[in-house]
Amino acid sequence: MDYLALASIFCAAFAVAFGALGPALAEGRAVAAAMDAIARQPEAANTISRTLFVGLGMIETTAIYCAVIALLLLFANPLLA
């Protein structure tokens, strides 16, 4: 196995590991803030949770990007073709 394949596999794992770090922290903060808001204003729970879900989807996208990059490295790597 030459070094390009090794580097690709290592970078794929690296991308997922560090790419999941930021979104995980961000989602934790978002959910904590939403919980706080719902505790203060239970009657607005519908609006808050709807906005929360959309926001979580947006945050999650960054982690998904990393996963897609990792899959590109593993399955569609132009250097290994």
């Binding site: 879900f53 959309v54 989807g57 998904i64």
Partner: protein, 227 residues
């Protein structure tokens, strides 16, 4: 292990390869069209139980559109509602054994995202005129024109990658776990996948609605906004 980026071709119609995702997509489309046709026969002012259930779904969609954007839902109900229902059915197609959700393949998501891109232009021009649509790029001020033009492409691209990534990763993880641990272990992951599918369908529809409404609002002149 099969690459999640490749699509498996089932057969050819002339030179056109027909993949499994396309067959599933057409099956879902046929199901939705026939279902909608069959369920809206014989509508009456005194709704039957079936009609009441359908009206409940439509009213819920109207409420969601009105609450997220403040726009009147009548013009957008058809497009946004169909988008939501189609993606939901596509994401939950994995419930049928042997069927892979078509949204786990790049081409279906790309088609949906292009649809959203075109519909932003269509609704923007229809709601605010051609000049109004072009003016929406200059909101909030003309310095933002290059950024807004870039954004109109990148936001659609991110919708496409988001839907693909979420559904595909669900299918992929279930595949890996099933190959490792067999019979009952993947079931909780499948349940999580159903939730993800619902949330992603909702997010896709809501974001499409938000983009359309923002374009229409930016394009309108201040006097039109007041009325």
């Amino acid at each position: 292990m099969n690459s999640p980026l490749a699509s498996n071709v089932l057969f050819y119609i002339g030179p056109v390869p027909i993949s499994q995702a396309i067959v599933t997509t057409w099956a879902i489309m046929a199901l939705l069209v026939l279902g909608a046709f069959a369920l809206t026969r014989g509508l009456s002012l005194h709704p039957t139980r079936r009609q009441a259930a359908m009206e409940l779904i439509v009213t819920t969609m109207d409420t969601q559109i009105r609450e997220t954007t403040g726009a009147e839902p009548a013009a957008y109900r058809g497009f946004i509602g169909t988008l939501f229902v189609f993606i939901l059915f596509a994401n939950w197609a994995s419930l049928v054994p042997g069927v892979e959700p078509p949204t786990a393949k790049l081409e279906t998501d790309a088609a949906l995202a292009i649809l959203v891109f075109l519909s932003v232009i269509w609704f923007g021009v229809r709601g605010a005129g051609v000049l109004g649509y072009l003016k929406s790029f200059a909101a909030p001020n003309p310095i933002m024109i290059p950024l807004n033009m870039l954004e109109s492409v990148t936001r659609v691209f991110s919708m496409f990658v988001r839907l693909f990534g979420n559904v595909m990763s669900g299918v992929f993880v279930i595949g890996i776990v099933a190959s490792l641990a067999g019979l009952l272990v993947p079931i909780p992951l499948m349940a999580l996948d159903l939730l993800t599918g619902l949330v992603q369908a909702y997010i896709f529809a809501v974001l499409a609605m938000v983009f359309i409404a923002a374009t229409v609002e930016d394009g309108q002149t201040p006097t039109q906004k007041e009325t």
